[in-house]
Every structure is written in C-alpha cells, then in structure tokens.
C-alpha cells in the first residue's frame, strides 16, 4: 500500500490530479494500491476517513490572533474579559495585523 500522506502531497502538487474528478482520481489511486480510506475520502470530498486511517482527530480550528480589543495592544490584553465599555476607547489605532 502506498503511503497516504505521500499520495496527498502528490495530488496536491500535480496540476492534472488536483482538480481531477473523484472517479478519475480514484482510478489513478487504485493503480498505486492506495488505502481504502483515501479512496473513500476522495469519493466523499473530505478527509474524515483519513483521520480514521491515520489515527488522528480533527480539532476545531482555533484562531491564532487574539480577539480585537481596540485601545489595547494584544500583548497587553487582559486575560479576563474587559468591560464592554472599555473595548474601544483608545486614541491610538490597534496594531493587530490584517490580511
């Protein structure tokens, strides 16, 4: 059986495979002896079965930036909830980064 992570990397980096239909992609994967879980994932269009195969849980994505609290630098942010009235009183703009 070919390694599932390697196959995912190969699919992700190949222009002919990345947007191939599930049927065509599974036809290609069948020839490489891909795992049943990977082929199920391709058919379903999501990775739930892969997490079973790899023995990992999908944790909910957590933001990597603090909730914007205007008037405070993020590193000065209080660890407890600030009163609502104090969340937008600053005379200087926030320094949080944006896309």
């Amino acid at each position: 059986m070919t390694d599932t992570i390697e196959l995912l990397e190969a699919i992700g980096s190949d222009a002919s495979l990345r947007y191939a239909s599930a049927d065509i992609l599974n036809g290609v994967l069948e020839q490489t002896h891909a795992s049943a879980e990977l082929m199920t994932a391709v058919a379903a269009g999501n990775g739930a079965s892969l997490r079973v195969e790899l023995g990992i849980q999908q944790v909910p994505q957590t933001p990597q930036s603090p909730t914007q609290l205007p008037g405070q630098e993020p590193d000065e942010e209080e660890e407890e909830e600030a009163p609502q009235s104090e969340r937008c009183h600053s005379d200087h703009p926030s320094s949080l980064s944006f896309q």
Partner: protein, 278 residues
C-alpha cells in the same frame, strides 16, 4: 524543488528564526523557500489547522513539535500565544535554527509569529517571516473576484461591534472569524449567536437584510473542493459557522463618481494642454 547546485550556508552555534506559512492546501501551496527553512531547521514548531497537514510536516523534519496542545478549554488564547513565543525563544537562545510553521500566511491573523520575530530581533538574532498562500489568496481565486475592481475591506468581525468603523458597500467586505465572534478563550462561546445577531444588525445599517452573503471555506486537503454557501444577510444571524469560515459581502451599491474631483482633474488636464500648445 531542492537546490542541488549550491551548498547551503550555515553558521553553527548562532540561533536563527524563521516563521513560514504552509499555505492552505496540503501539497499545493508550500513555497520552495519555506520548505527549505523547515528542512534546514534544528527544531520545527507547528501551529496548523489540520492534523493531517501536521503529519505531512513530520515527513519533512524529524523534530516537529505541535503547538496545538497549548490551547485549553477556558484558557485565554493570548496566554497560549505567549507560551508559543516563549517556546520558540527558548530554543533560539540555545543557538538552534528554529522554524515556526503556521497555516496559511504566518503573518495574517497570527499574533505569535510577529511577536517572536520582534523579540528575536530585540535580542540580536537573525529572524524573518516567509509569506505563505493565505485564506484570503484562496478566496479571490475560488470566488472569482478581483479586490482591485471595486475595492475590498477586511475586518476581524468583532471589530465591527467594538468600534466605529466605516463600511463602504460599493466594494467587497470580507469578515474574518465571524464563527468565533466575541470569543476570547477556547471552548467559551456562550454568547456567540447573540453577538452574531448584533453583527447582522450592524451590517444592516449598510446593507439590506436580503443582500447576498457568501460563506467561504478554502480546501485544506487536495482531495477537497472549496465550500461556498450563499445566503442572505438576515440568515447570517443563525447559520452554523465555524472558525475557519469567512464571510464575504459583495458590493451593494454602484460606484458613484466624485464630481468635484473630476472637475478639478479636467481643469488640470486643460491647463496641461494649454501649456503644451503655448
């Protein structure tokens, strides 16, 4: 692609830091330079959105340390981010080449990469950030709009509640982290829907409640397609949303000409023509 014609330069014993982005989609977005930072590092820290992506990263380096376990229910996220910075700095101070790997772009909606680079610079270490393909980049491609055409504003959703901000409904509006609006700790999310209702009320000041709203989530695995759901602004108040979903409001009004400025431009052009003719 790996460089095979030149030797890599490494200064032993001098710590160096790079924060890189893994991009959004496994196998598709990692840049050659970001991969090189990962491969050449002594230790790699990972804050990724998908455990499968973390498994992929482990194939690139034997010492990948996940930052995910530092989140905890009820623990303020900022405390977790500070711990991440401390972990990376501790390794840097021992003279190691440290690589922090973050999903998407390491400098977008990510506090600790900016902070650790700032701290590393302050202590005299070489440190920099390598950009990655972000959710925003994927969004333009998948939704098929160009932010340059009508303009595009981006806000972290909570900011629209806490601050007076001017929304321009003639351009696109992209709202991030709507699914966790008002939530500052992992697992504490009681007021989410109530906050969301207020967000819809705020948006209702600039858009009709029947205006189209797009809920977008990019593909993180290459066997996935982006998720694109179209609803109305009214429905945004109650639709289930996760942290990784982004809300996009297309323009609601047409661009209006700035007549005063156009007249002044015409005057300038006319003067230029007169000058050229003289």
């Amino acid at each position: 692609m790996t460089n095979t014609i030149l030797p890599s330069l490494n200064v032993p014993g001098r710590g160096r830091l790079a924060c890189v982005g893994l991009g959004m989609t496994l196998g598709s977005h990692l840049t050659p330079l970001a991969r090189s930072h990962i491969v050449q590092a002594d230790v790699v820290f990972a804050a990724l959105s998908d455990a499968i992506a973390e498994e992929w990263l482990k194939r690139m380096h034997p010492d990948v340390r996940s930052l995910q376990p530092y989140y905890a229910e009820g623990k303020p996220r900022i405390k977790t981010y500070r711990e991440w910075v401390a972990l990376m700095m501790a390794e840097l101070r021992t003279g190691k080449r440290v690589c922090g790997v973050f999903y998407g772009h390491p400098g977008i909606f990510a506090w600790s990469p900016h902070k650790v680079i700032e701290q590393a610079h302050a202590e005299g270490y070489e440190a920099h950030m390598e950009p990655g393909i972000s959710a925003e980049d994927s969004l333009y491609a998948d939704l098929g709009f160009d932010p340059g055409r009508y303009g595009c504003q981006h806000f972290e959703a909570s900011q629209l509640l806490y601050c007076e901000r001017r929304i321009d409904p003639a351009g696109y509006l992209v709202l991030w982290q709507v699914g966790v609006i008002g939530n500052r700790s992992v697992g504490r999310f009681d007021a989410g829907l109530a906050y969301r209702a207020l967000l819809v009320e705020r948006l209702g000041q600039d858009y009709p409640l029947e205006h189209e709203v797009i809920i977008y989530r990019g593909a993180t695995l290459p066997i996935e397609r982006p998720r694109i759901q179209r609803i109305t602004l009214r429905e945004l108040a109650e639709v289930p949303l996760t942290a990784e979903e982004t809300v996009v409001l297309p323009p609601a009004v047409t661009l209006q000409p700035n007549r005063a400025m156009l007249e002044r431009l015409q005057t300038l052009d006319a003067r230029e023509k007169e000058g050229a003719a003289a």
